[in-house]
Symmetry: C2
Subunit: 308 residues, 2 copies
């Protein structure tokens, strides 16, 4: 079945933005400066990829839109975490980027102190939002565990559960690796952690919210992992082949700073091929869901064939 | 009844440090730099005030030490949040402090990028630790709601619940107010938010963990609020009257930067008097608990009569 992915994206962005508008403190609530800084970066035109994946995973598991209200709030929480990580990543001490989504980055617009605290507050608000979800407490706890481990440092086998590497761990590996020639193994590890972990957990969290079985969650995890990695590879390729105006952010920065990217190690052609293979694997994981997996599959296809 | 507060403090520090040692990723777990930075600041000789308040509140409500294992982990989570807020507060873009608890601050020892990410990761690990508590899911959710709202920006009446000002909100008000003559109202608001909210919620969270009744939690909240404010007033007085060697941090910084402090507005004598009144109110809130409130009362007395 053909799926109208643009309608799906539009309605997902709308639901997410409405939830964010409701959940973020008003710009007129004191202390004003931080609420304005939080809103500046949250409403700077993001694609809402993570919330939309969360929403569609919940719909697939629920067999309809009965969970939409809670899923939109959970999606908003995931977007807050994504936004906080971008605000801190853009700081002078880290990537030192002035432009993000075509707009001045948070520290350029509001100063460094506000950007640091706005990022901190967005992380807090994300966990507060998860705590306030109107779903059974056991589901809140499952989501809390999954999301927090996905955005952690990458705790090792010496911690209970042997949790996988997380978002902050990926950022650290990325910084630690700068200036040295990236290896294939390191690039994959960084990608899985830095961007992959949050994308993967967005799909998992949507499934948990809708009360998915263990098998359903495992399949969503595979889908999220493969599709997320493919998305990041395509992002790296676009960074190398597009200019800043097309991307809405400073292009070529990854290459300039010798960052560990997929095309830098494997070349552009191989990267495009790898992304295709990953999408095929992602599709296969959802086979048992039949037609109800069409929206998630359409999303994965869209994300890996986009040109900006 | 006289209570041996030093034995209580020692055993509380020990339980907290054991929990932190277990929960923080090993310094040998990659990525190393961030795990070392997280540990540097976490194990820099803090008083463990928040964990000890949490532990003693849980013991009072439980009528013994049956909840100690979970309460120590919850206390460790609260200490992680406290440590993260100190790391970010010390950054050059904020207070620009080189010395904390007698040791180089995180960014001095590990660089700014690592300090920013170590703070971020400590906040995440705190919520992950709350998610992993071995208590009923409904109690986890109640603790998650209480702690996240206490460390947020100070969400206003336009958000559901009309939650009180939180820790990050206090930091922002503190920064916004610098350089202007502080008013009594502003000082109290900043104190309640910046330090008071986390201290108050430490007591509340301990009570929730032990399954306290609504009345017990309300009484603990009053105790935590009054004792926390008294503690902060005494801290301000010590900052004005002691030198750096005695305090283990840069003394007189509050005065130098025209920070909003209690003695700056009310004078030292009035401040000491106010702290005493607040402690009396804190004691009164715990009257119905009789003898089992002795440890919390002893703690409050100790914290407001200390000389460093």
């Amino acid at each position: 079945m053909q799926y109208d992915v643009h309608a799906l994206l539009q309605s997902g962005v709308l639901l997410t933005d409405q939830a964010l508008e409701r959940l973020l403190p008003s710009p007129n609530t004191p202390p004003h400066s931080i609420h304005r800084a939080m809103r500046h970066s949250t409403f700077a035109g993001g694609k809402r990829l993570r919330p939309i994946l969360c929403l569609e995973a919940a719909r697939m598991v629920a067999g309809g839109n009965t969970c939409d209200a809670a899923a939109a709030e959970l999606g908003a929480a995931l977007e807050m975490i994504h936004t906080y990580s971008l605000i801190h990543d853009d700081l002078p001490a880290l990537d030192n980027d002035d432009l993000r989504r075509g707009q001045p980055t948070c520290h350029v617009a509001f100063g460094e102190a506000s950007a640091i605290l706005a990022g901190d507050a967005l992380q807090t608000l994300a966990f507060q939002t998860i705590g306030n979800l109107n779903i059974p407490p056991a589901a809140v706890v499952a989501i809390l565990k999954a999301v927090s481990s996905a955005v952690a440092t990458g705790v090792g086998a010496d911690l209970p559960g042997g949790l996988p590497p997380g978002m902050i761990g990926g950022q650290v590996m990325d910084i630690e690796g700068e200036g040295t020639k990236p290896t294939a193994e390191l690039v994959e590890r960084i990608h899985r952690a830095k961007t992959g972990a949050l994308i993967k957990v967005s799909v998992i969290a949507g499934g948990l919210l809708a009360g998915g079985s263990e098998d359903a969650i495992a399949r969503l995890a595979t889908f999220g992992e493969k599709a997320g990695l493919a998305f990041q590879i395509v992002d790296d390729v676009l960074d190398m082949t597009q200019d800043s105006a097309q991307l809405g952010k400073t292009a070529g920065k990854d290459t300039a700073s010798d960052k560990a990217t997929w095309p830098a190690v494997f070349g552009i052609e191989q990267s495009i091929h790898d992304a295709g293979e990953l999408v095929a694997d992602a599709f296969a994981a959802l086979d048992p869901f039949g037609e109800s997996a069409a929206p998630l599959k359409a999303l994965a296809t869209y994300l890996t064939t986009r040109t900006k």
